[in-house]
Amino acid sequence: MIVFNNVSKDYKNGKSGRGGVLKDINFKISPGEFVSIVGHSGAGKTTLLKMIIVEDRPTTGEILFDKINVHRIPRRKLPRYRRKIGVIFQDFKLLPHKTAYENIAFAMEVNGRSDRDIAENVPQALSLVDLEDKVNSFPHELSGGEKQRVAIARAIANQPNIIIADEPTGNLDPVATYEVVQILRKINDMGTTVIMTTHNKGIIDEIERRVITMDDGMIIRDDMKGKYIL
């Protein structure tokens, strides 16, 4: 589903492989996998995820999504590509002037879904994340855990094949962290590929899924049933 071929990113001197944020990254992610990417701050985890959603571009190498080089997609077609991916951010990135319902509905509106579809699916998405009673709440009226759950609901609203979560529990307390991880597991169990970056040893050890360990821009371990080893 996702393939990284010799991907490097260097902000300093433009030459790959020499002192860069990413150094010669190679890996594949198959459909339905739950992949955790772990590493210290500055290891390159977030940069790697940004490459997938074309928020950043590699200096060398290519990233394939369903066999298409994502960085060759014309700018005007990027929005369509991004709609295939559900993204969850550490800082939630909810639209502050829209309610929980409207935030989720927005993701469906940009996908051209009908009003009827939206009216049916948004409550279902909110139900999946246990936020049926927060339909008309604005982000500033929600707790951190609730915001992240709305973000998850938005990410899955269009039933994407893949969810990318960048430190989804980074700003959450342990209870909220647990809830979010359970939701992500549930989503993965339903067939959606999940790629998550995290610092949280507890989550990794509990999930017992594939773990890619990064350090200094390189992949140092790739274990199918990994543990947090750093």
Binding site: V110, N111, G112, S114
Partner: protein, 303 residues
């Protein structure tokens, strides 16, 4: 397509409503800009009216000799009336001239005494000539000068050059004031437009994070930009309405005063041209709001 458009319009309305604080600053600045434009339009109209009134005061008075025969006088007047540049010729018989002169100077004892001592009417017939265009007076004056030489003893005096100088001076002053007003209004307008643009840009700056989020969620440019453009247009339309409301009491107060000074009641002019005026202000406001929003949003659409 229609669904997207409907959603863009709905989002534009909702965003406008939910961001009232930000909207109010943009509307305030836009209102000031439109007020400047409206004021420039009114002032320009006052100057045009003044100029027109002054130019209509220009005429040529031909004073015929007191002994000129009525045939000679009528001949000249007939020739004047046939001239294509002449708008009208008012013939004032000597008796009427005399009575008007007495009436104008009835409080002047010296003049009245002098008139008493004169035997009979010392005045000749007068013809007051108006041209179709002020630029043609010189031609008419030249014709009369030639007639004065040709038919000696008929035309006593042609009163044009004396008043022409004063009127030309007034016209020059008004034209200079018009140009100065145009330049000042232009500078004020550019400043107001720039301030408006920056205010709207600041308003959209507060939404930059939202724009980035929308891009990352997969929204296309038009879907992101649309509501902001609509908000800009709302700002422009509402500002025009407010500006029109502000003008009302001001012009009500100014109207009688401008009528005395410029010859035009600006309040009556405002009421008579209300719809045109609103269309101009609303059009300018909507376009300014639209363009400002477009330029401001564009810089954040490059994620």
């Amino acid at each position: 397509m229609l669904t997207s458009l409907r959603r863009i319009v709905k989002t534009g309305f909702i965003n406008f409503w939910r961001n009232a604080y930000v909207a109010s600053s943009s509307i305030f600045v836009l209102t000031v800009t439109l007020f400047v434009i409206g004021s420039a339009m009114f002032f320009n109209q006052l100057l045009i009216t003044s100029l027109s009134i002054i130019q209509s005061k220009v005429d040529i008075n031909v004073y015929f000799d007191v002994n000129a025969s009525s045939e000679d006088v009528n001949k000249i007047i007939s020739e004047l009336k046939t001239m294509p540049d002449v708008k009208s010729v008012e013939y004032i018989p000597k008796d009427v001239v005399y009575e008007r002169y007495r009436e104008r100077n009835k409080d002047n004892k010296v003049v009245m005494q002098a008139l008493e001592e004169l035997d009979g009417n010392p005045m000749g017939d007068v013809a007051a000539i108006q041209a179709k265009d002020p630029s043609k007076y010189q031609k008419i004056s030249d014709f009369l000068e030639s007639k004065k030489k040709e038919m000696g003893g008929v035309i006593d005096n042609i009163n044009y050059l004396q008043t022409k100088k004063a009127i030309d001076k007034l016209t020059t002053i008004i034209n200079v004031v018009k140009k100065a007003t145009f330049v000042i209004a232009g500078v004020l307008l550019v400043a107001a437009v720039l301030i408006t643009f920056n205010t709207i840009r600041l308003a959209i700056y507060t939404a930059r994070e939202e724009i980035v989020i929308m891009r990352l969620v997969g929204a296309g440019n038009s879907f992101i930009r649309g509501p902001f453009l609509l908000q800009g247009m709302f700002y422009g339309f509402i500002s025009a309405c407010i500006a029109m409301l502000i003008f009302y009491p001001i012009l009500t107060w100014l109207g009688p005063r401008t009528e005395v000074f410029f010859g035009l009641n600006i309040y009556d002019y405002y009421i008579d041209n209300l719809s045109n005026f609103f269309v101009v202000l609303a059009g300018f406001g909507v376009v300014l709001g639209f363009v400002s929003s477009f330029l401001a949003v564009s810089r954040y659409l490059r994620v």
